[in-house]
Symmetry: C2
Subunit: 353 residues, 2 copies
């Protein structure tokens, strides 16, 4: 079976009595060979069952593997369950497709064994890691990379949105509608996986950039309107799914009086929150308004359609990938994409007293 010596470029060369360089040229630089020779080579190769230069070996000399890596903060399989991540992936893959690049999904996070050895030319880090020490593996490998939605790192590109402003706009929308009692359906603030109400002290220690910024945005808007932030309950749940949103909202709505407006840090959380409201016998937006963040496709399809902050997920993916392909290498500059409030049916003035 495998005893049979693998047929390599050298096999073909010696079968024809030509040099290896010639065989190599037949594949990579046809114009340097006489058509006759080229045909002989290709023909013999076919006869011998030689499938062409081994990509790995070729790559070793050339120094390029023609692949973009993508590392996820959360487990990779989660990546596919989060619709926002899927849109992002779609953006990245569009660029890869156009540029004839493979897209390598790197499991286990930025410091996994896979990240250490994955065969890629550059990597997109779609994760919100702590600024210090995060991505150490990637940095050490010396690969060009861009961080999306995460911290700014020296030498790396950065793509993100203005989370704070997005959150602020969402909160202001509810304030404008006349709401005064708010609850926040929060993504994790720290890595400890704790669930529950996050007090001011915990809020101050928030490690994830997105969570921190969105929280800050809510707060700014609410305080600017003259309300007391300390009166706003922040319910933190983990991980990111609808379930989490449902549990957080259930806790918020069980309070008396319950908030009339829920600020959800993502659409998935918001969608879960809407379901929880229904379970609690509350109408959205009649009894309680909900605003999300992300504008994933399911937001528009929800009942009622979800008011949310749109961010250009696909565009973020495209941009991140493009930055890595720029001729001059990665400049460590920052790209902020626009956010926009999309008002739909899940928000309304608070119920009359």
């Amino acid at each position: 079976m495998d005893r049979a010596r693998r047929v390599t470029l050298a096999t073909v060369a010696s079968a024809l009595g030509v040099s290896r360089a010639t065989v190599s040229n037949a594949y990579n630089h046809p114009e340097r060979l006489s058509p006759r020779m080229r045909n002989r080579v290709l023909h013999t190769a076919r006869e011998l069952g030689y499938a062409g230069p081994h990509p790995l070996a070729a790559t070793l000399s050339r120094g390029r593997v023609n692949a973009l890596g993508l590392v996820h903060g959360a487990p990779m399989s989660f990546g596919f369950s989060d619709p926002a991540a899927v849109l992002f992936l779609q953006g990245v893959s569009e660029v890869c497709e156009r540029e004839d690049l493979a897209l390598v999904l790197i499991a286990g996070g930025p410091d996994s064994a896979v990240a250490r050895v994955a065969l890629v030319d550059a990597v997109v880090c779609y994760c919100d890691v702590p600024a210090e020490g995060g991505l150490a593996t990637i940095v050490e490998r010396g690969l060009p990379f861009v961080v999306v939605d995460g911290p700014r790192l020296p030498g790396a590109g950065h793509v993100g949105i203005d989370d704070r402003r997005g959150a602020e706009v969402a909160a202001r929308h509810l304030l404008d509608l006349g709401h005064t009692r708010f609850g926040v359906v929060a993504m994790p603030l720290l890595e400890d996986g704790r669930e529950g109400t996050a007090d001011l002290e915990r809020q101050a220690r928030t490690r994830y950039r997105a969570s921190r910024e969105r929280l800050a945005g809510y707060r700014e808007a609410i305080e600017a309107a003259g309300h007391d932030w300390a009166a706003v309950t922040v319910e933190e749940r983990s991980p990111y799914g609808r379930d989490a949103g449902g549990r957080a909202a259930a806790a918020l709505l069980a309070r008396d009086p319950h908030p009339t407006a829920l600020l959800a840090m993502s659409d998935e959380l918001a969608l879960g929150a809407m379901a929880a409201a229904a379970d609690a016998g509350l109408a959205v937006p009649g009894d309680v308004s909900v605003v999300g963040f992300d504008d994933v496709p399911a937001a528009a399809d929800a009942h009622p359609p979800l008011t949310t902050v749109r961010q250009p997920h696909r565009e973020k993916g495209r941009l991140a990938a493009s930055l890595l392909l720029r001729p001059g290498g990665v400049h460590d500059d920052e790209h902020h994409l626009p956010v926009e409030l999309v008002v739909r049916g899940s928000t309304a003035p608070p119920p009359a007293r």
Copy 2:
């Protein structure tokens, strides 16, 4: 800048005056070295800014890259827009994650330039290609592979479902409810991208296995109930999205009398069809019943929730990946996963005359 000779394993070796083998061992076989030597090596490496053995080179000697490839029939970016494909990907990625493998998304289909050179140990083909000549590139490269939802190929594994039975069950459900006038919302039958009503002749030439089998299933059930298949309109649309389903359904529902039951070949098509029905002023399921295929998450969330044929997408992904990792290599055997009718709210008896 790059003038500075890259620091390689040899650099470290000569800096220490030891052999390259020793440095290599420090990383790969610590137990073969005295702790003292190992520390010296690691320390010097760090000092020199050596990030460890170049994965590419390591891989060349070892012969394994620790990566699984995934090739898509449709453009890769489509892959992410189809929720069924996303679930499948999730399944594959779970296995990759568990096994510390990278997951390489190969753009441009099974015969693209990327497929020719992608650095992978084995590949999952998630595509319905013609049995003859499809996947030629993969076959030539001699990579182990498994085909999902496509044709059986010698030497390759196969994972699929019983599409025919699934379709049959769906149709029988509608028949049991008393329906007699059917319309089929079809995925593409041929590669020509044609849209419109597919007559019997075109149906007979169907190239895609899934389309062919599902059509056959519908037909068997309907004929078994004593109805005339020729009276069933098959509306083919391309590509696979909701829009396509909407357009097909609009055409079907514009007929007079319109069908009271729509058999959609996928949930995305079905969801589009439901929207089209609403646009046409028809109630689902009051005026028209709709049944899908796939049971994607959005099916249960739809209004009304969609009756559909469930297939285990995630499980398919897991199985396909697992087959490639089996110690003995890929056995060319066939794995059929179960399908199951899920009755929800989109089907009901036809309206009274």
